[in-house]
């Protein structure tokens, strides 16, 4: 049954609460901003008056029984899910909740290697064992792709005791797997299907976009409302299908969730959900049009390749999200990260991220046509001013990991710190990744090879922001202590 998506239960409760002019003898201590004029001046009084604590009229995220419950039901309805949870610690918390809801210590989960670090962090927390499916890469573009149905099938046959399949859909660059077929097959073997939809909120509301996780029959999906959905940073929604017990999921969420959830974040979810439900179709038609226009113009500049649906091959690129403006820069003789840096340093244009071969400009409802022109104009100038000969760039981003032990075991093992160049042949106990996108080059429990060290050095040379290791300079790595 379709609910009336004009309603905003949580927003209404906050409006009502403001009218009551309640005297606050509870936290937060800034007391509607009066106790912190500097902060109130910066963020605005309107904002501070609703930065409040859970109370009877505003419900409680840890145990929702009234307006938050209603708002979550509205969200579930809008997304076509059985139940929905407002998340206030980013999609990271949604990812953790999904994995911990279906996997216990020692149980197996099938995951593609190009997962976000939050997935492996969740494995460290719960002790589940990752069975990696190697996503194919496109060597021309240097991007990792989706999972094919055959590879997932193969992984299931080799690991019939696995509890779940984890799917990235879409990837950062917009590549989608055949989610429906993967779901049907996984269910046949009694596996749950968990979908990282951090970059796919718009699939639920736009037309002519790839299929969403709930529509494909997946069991759980984590959607970053704050990305394409327009809510505040750190707010997110976890969706569950009919075969998931929402009360169990809530208990899992409450293991790590704050007991003082921000009403700024939660109301932004309520408001954004209404906006998407009512206007999503036109919003994403406009976003798609912007992205298509930019792609066409950028491809005419020369040397840039803004790729899209032409890559679709029915397998590891089953579908493509046209709202993603992903641009390959290899023919320009520049790494994606170099173009990303030039855009920011020379032209005051901040894009989402750049890696060795590609960059991503995030297009959204907040963009203006004139800003799109600036981006295209700046890319054209970068080509005129900085183009180099197409040199041998380190092409393949994906390096096949050799998993020696589970992330949890490695993470909690005794370790020693070694200079990067001495680490070959040792087992890493920490993460190494470029951030963004935050996809691990090394995860805890994996063998370090000379190829990986060379790749880390290359990323550093190109100016990628490297994160993960204890050593901030990434000149040393923590490796497993040898007996």
């Amino acid at each position: 049954m379709k609910l009336d998506q004009n309603k905003t239960p949580l927003l209404d409760a906050l409006q009502e609460f403001k009218k009551m002019r309640m005297v606050p003898f509870d936290v937060p201590g800034h007391k509607r901003g009066k106790g912190n004029p500097l902060l109130t001046d910066f963020l605005g009084e309107k904002c501070l008056t609703v930065d409040v604590n859970s109370m009877k009229s505003l419900d409680n995220l840890c145990h929702p029984i009234s307006v938050i419950k209603d708002a979550e039901e509205m969200a579930a309805n809008a997304f076509g899910a059985k139940s929905a949870f407002f998340m206030v610690n980013g999609t990271t918390s949604g990812v953790q909740a999904m994995i911990m809801s279906v996997c216990k210590h020692g149980e197996k989960i099938i995951v593609p290697r190009n997962v976000h670090k939050s997935v492996i962090n969740a494995l460290i927390l719960c002790g589940a064992v990752p069975i990696y499916v190697n996503p194919k890469t496109n060597d021309e573009l240097g991007i990792s792709l989706g999972m094919t149905i055959d590879e997932v099938h193969d992984a299931i046959l080799k690991n019939p005791d696995a509890k779940a399949v984890y799917v990235n859909n879409p990837t950062y660059f917009g590549v989608c797997s055949d989610l429906t077929s993967i779901t049907v097959m996984a269910h046949k073997y009694n596996l749950k299907v968990l979908v990282d939809e951090a970059h796919g909120t718009h699939f639920y509301f736009g037309k002519n976009l790839p299929i969403s996780a709930m529509a494909a029959g997946a069991d759980m999906a984590a959607v970053s409302m704050h990305k394409s959905g327009g809510s505040l940073t750190q707010s997110s929604i976890l969706l569950c299908g009919p075969d998931i017990n929402p009360h169990h999921v809530r208990q899992i969420i409450n293991l790590t969730q704050t007991t003082s959830a921000s009403y700024l974040l939660m109301s932004s979810l309520d408001i954004s959900r209404k906006n998407l439900a009512l206007h999503g179709q036109e919003i994403f038609a406009k976003v798609s049009e912007y992205a298509e226009y930019a792609r066409e113009e950028i491809n005419q500049i020369g040397d840039y390749y803004a790729f899209s649906r032409e890559l679709i091959n029915g397998r590891e690129i089953f579908d493509f999200d046209v709202t993603k403006l992903s641009i390959n820069t290899l023919s320009l003789g520049l790494a994606g990260i170099e173009v990303y840096d030039l855009l920011r340093d020379e032209y005051d244009i901040q894009t989402e991220f750049g890696d060795v071969a590609n960059m991503l400009a995030y297009i959204s409802v907040g963009d203006r046509r004139s800003d799109i022109e600036r981006l295209i104009g700046a890319l054209s100038e970068i080509r005129r001013r900085f183009k180099k000969d197409k040199v041998a760039l380190f092409k393949t981003e994906y390096i096949n990991p050799e998993v020696v032990m589970t992330p949890r075991d490695a993470f909690y093992s005794d370790c020693v710190s070694l200079p990067l160049d001495d680490c070959s042949g040792r087992i890493c106990t920490e993460f190494v990744m470029c951030y963004p996108p935050g996809i691990p080059i090394l995860a805890p429990g994996e063998m370090i090879t000379s190829q990986i060290i060379e790749y880390i050095r290359y990323c550093k040379d190109k100016g990628c922001s490297m994160t993960g290791p204890e050593d901030m300079e990434v000149e040393r790595l923590n490796v497993l202590k040898e007996e």
Binding site: E297, E346, Y347, D348, R369, S370, D371, E373, R374, I376, G377, A378, S380, E381, R384, R385
Partner: protein, 286 residues
């Protein structure tokens, strides 16, 4: 009854003109367009509430954005105007018999329509047969031009609103590319007086110096613009704005101007110390 148009020149300074009546008010895709009739300044046009031009003093702006570059370049034939939907710059350019093509790129067709209806004094510039009008984003238009124009005149609004893209480094770089090897770009360069305007003008100068070898700024006195002290940018690949001024040649054309003359040309590049200093602060050490 008194009816006044007021523009806030800063949060603490207002500028007002008494109005007889409002002639037009239209919301276009890009901005709000208003036309008023006033006893002191005649008909005037505002965009998003900001003064663009009045019948009484527009000659200063339009002569000064056009003639200095035209008097320096030895043979300006292909000219591009970006913005300038009122037609005033075109009107001045059309006075030169040597000009072969006169292209104008204006993002907002409604501005042109409104000016044709209410401000024929400037919109008459569109009547010249050499004029070709392109209604599109200026940045987009120049992006695909290479080695095409002798002079580009950037007659933009302020750097907030639809004119924003015309104050960016990528735009100036694309103009550089669109100009021939001895081309000149002239731009509306904001004012040095009020801090916010001065900041915008300093930023524009910095970005232009990053693309062009010769970057000078010149001034004019425009009564209806904030502080009345207004600047223009002269960015050039080859010609110096004063040393390469062709005085005799320009005088021989015998053009009728109300503000500009070749003596004033040289003088307009002499700037007050405080303006020199604002500019010098962003010029890179050679």
């Amino acid at each position: 009854m008194e009816f006044w148009y007021t523009e806030k020149h800063t949060n603490d300074v207002k500028f007002s003109i008494r109005v007889d009546k409002q002639l037009a008010s239209i919301d276009s895709e890009f901005q709000r367009i208003d036309v008023f009739e006033s006893p002191a300044f005649g008909t005037f046009l505002t965009l998003d509430g900001y003064m663009m031009l009045t019948e009484k003093d527009e000659f200063i702006y339009h002569e000064m954005i056009v003639h200095p570059a035209m008097a320096v370049h030895p043979n300006p034939e292909n000219i591009l105007v970006i913005g300038g939907g009122d037609g005033g710059a075109l009107r001045e350019l059309a006075k030169y018999p040597g000009v072969k093509t006169l292209d104008i790129v204006e993002i907002d067709k409604l501005v042109v329509d409104v000016c044709k209806k209410w401000l024929p004094q400037t919109a008459c510039g569109f009547d010249d047969s050499r004029v070709r009008v392109f209604y599109q984003d200026g940045l987009k238009y120049v992006r695909s031009c290479i080695d095409k124009y002798d002079i580009i005149i950037v007659d933009s609004t302020d750097p907030f609103g639809p004119g924003e893209g015309l104050f960016t480094k990528e735009f100036y770089g694309n103009c550089f590319k669109a100009l021939k090897e001895d081309g000149i770009m002239v731009n509306q360069h904001e004012s040095p007086f009020y801090p916010k305007d001065a900041e915008a003008m300093q930023r524009a100068h910095k970005r232009i110096t990053e693309s062009f070898g010769i970057c000078r700024v010149y001034q004019a006195h425009i009564p209806t613009y904030p502080s009345g002290h207004w600047l223009f940018g002269f960015a050039s690949k080859k010609y110096h704005p004063v040393r390469d001024l062709k005085v005799r040649k320009w005088k021989a054309l015998d053009l009728k101007t109300h503000y500009y003359n070749t003596n004033l040309h040289a003088g307009s590049f002499a700037l007050p110390n405080y303006v020199e200093e604002i500019l010098r602060n962003v010029e890179s050490e050679e």
